[in-house]
């Protein structure tokens, strides 16, 4: 028995959709307030006052449904990966399920694993559909992540997400999974204790043993199991807490930059945490050609990575235009200053 995760039935993505809020703050504006002048990214997305991980998930889910053109009542599971759930106790997934008209005949739950909660929900969806238990399952990753004011995470922690509907592979499938592989170890690089507002991190510890080790192990493990080399992939999307990390991963794996850039949005929207690779993949699906193979590797602190190999099918051509593209949201932007940003992030107490 190999390490590859592959269900009995072949499954794929029948619908996908992204959402990124319209507000942006420039890294230099955050730097102005804290006296910092070198930045990991250019600018990041900021949620509106009336947006949270749930509302981001709802719009992403609706976009996925527009492309899938299925009856939401046929969805048997809706799994929501986030680390910024609005309620500490009360599922967020049920609100989304209600808002898209999928209730009541389905399972719904929130998934947690720092930034890989979204791909974890996807792994579960692949299993649920691949076993024949369900016709469709929806996996969503969305966050409105918080960085402690002045901490280097504040430059990148942003808002956004994407949703994927998994179904059995047929001619309507936009892209199918060739297999996946998960790699986890207990690595305390980043955490947030109950009742604390902001996370803590192990500073330098976040790089080598955490991010790089898990992502590279997962990517190599998947390629080994599938007998692929980096040149077999047309695109690669890696978890993107900044711009440098995913490009370094590509370099180590021997994947040219051009294959990574189309799905690397952190420089202009920031780190959307559970949404990060999901939004990156949706940007790639917006432009990929039938036959293209995509390498998808997430990372979640704590720590672990999920790696997937996706192959794009013909149906993508007619379905991608049924909902707004990822870049339609990325290019819709309004800049705000630090004072308004603080209001949007609920940092004022009335």
């Amino acid at each position: 028995m190999g390490k590859l995760l592959k269900p009995n039935k072949e499954v794929g993505i029948v619908g996908y959709g992204a959402y990124v809020p319209m507000y942006r703050i420039k890294a230099e504006e955050i730097g102005r307030v804290w006296g910092v002048n070198s930045f990991p990214i250019q600018e990041k997305s900021v949620n509106n006052l009336d947006e949270d991980a749930i509302t981001i998930g709802i719009e992403a889910a609706r976009n996925a449904l527009k492309r899938a053109q299925i009856d939401p009542k046929e969805i048997r599971a809706l799994w929501f990966g986030t680390e910024s759930k609005p309620y500490a106790v009360k599922p967020s997934a049920t609100v989304i399920a209600e808002a898209i008209g999928a209730t009541p005949d389905l399972d719904a739950a929130d998934f947690e694993f720092a930034c890989k909660a979204g791909t974890e929900a996807l792994q579960a969806s692949i299993g649920f559909v691949g076993s024949g238990m369900a016709k469709y399952a929806m996996a969503i990753g969305a966050d409105t992540s918080q960085g402690r004011p002045g901490d280097h995470l504040e430059f990148t922690a942003s808002a956004g997400g994407a949703a994927y509907i998994v179904g059995e592979k047929d001619s309507e499938t936009l892209a199918y999974f060739e297999g996946s592989y998960s790699y986890v170890t207990d690595t305390p690089d980043f955490w947030r204790r109950q009742h604390e507002h902001y996370p803590r991190h192990g500073n330098r510890f976040t790089g080598e043993p955490a991010y790089f080790h898990q992502i590279i192990s997962a990517a190599k493990g998947l390629m080994e199991e599938l007998n692929y080399s980096p040149s077999d992939f047309d695109y690669a999307v890696f978890h993107q807490p900044n711009v440098k990390f995913p490009l370094t991963v590509a370099k180590i794996l021997g994947i040219p930059k051009e294959k990574v850039l189309p799905g690397l949005l952190s420089g202009i929207i920031g780190n959307t945490y559970s949404g990060a690779t999901l939004v990156g993949i949706s940007a790639v699906l917006d432009i990929a050609k039938p036959g293209d193979r995509i390498l998808w590797v997430s990372f979640g602190s704590g720590a672990g990575s999920d790696a997937f190999s996706l192959v794009v099918q013909d149906a993508i051509e007619e379905k991608r235009d049924l909902a707004p593209k990822t870049m339609d949201y990325v290019n819709r932007k309004k800049y705000i200053d630090y004072a308004l940003y603080a209001k949007h992030r609920s940092k004022y107490i009335l």
């Binding site: 319209m22 719009e59 209001k343």
Partner: protein, 136 residues
């Protein structure tokens, strides 16, 4: 906002608030939002649920600067009368829009957002708002 009676009152309207489900008269075809049990036009009680498209136009609007309790953090915000594609007229907040961008007849589409947040330990209410459409 911990009183169970009030939670129940909100909960009963989740379907119409989250995704704009209205009712359609099976006799004369008139569409209503919010939902009705009896058709005011022909008196029929044969009503069915109908999912509205969420597309509409701004008929009129105002900027709310002194909002009621539970809405203070959102101020100032635009409140508009919107004529839905299917006919009904609704009063709702506009979001993701600049004050000077709003105009009579402006096309809008429905989104589900946070409407109201009761104290730190209370319920979060979600519901429809409208914004300039994102193409397509």
């Amino acid at each position: 906002m911990g009183r169970p009676m009030q939670v129940a009152r909100y909960w009963r309207h989740f379907k119409e608030k989250y995704r704009m489900v209205g009712t359609k008269c099976k006799e004369c075809g008139e569409i209503y939002f919010p939902p009705r049990q009896v058709c005011p036009k022909c008196g029929s009680r044969e009503m069915e649920d109908v999912q509205l498209s969420g597309k509409g136009k701004v008929l009129s609007w105002t900027i709310v600067r002194n909002p009621p309790s539970g809405f203070e953090y959102f101020r100032p915000y635009p409140l508009a009368l919107i004529e839905l594609e299917e006919g009904p007229i609704v009063l709702a907040q506009l979001t993701d829009v600049d004050e000077n961008q709003i105009d009579f007849g402006m096309e809008v589409e429905m989104v589900t957002r946070k409407i109201r947040e009761f104290e730190g330990d209370g319920l979060i209410l979600y519901g429809y708002k409208f914004r300039p459409p994102i193409k397509p």
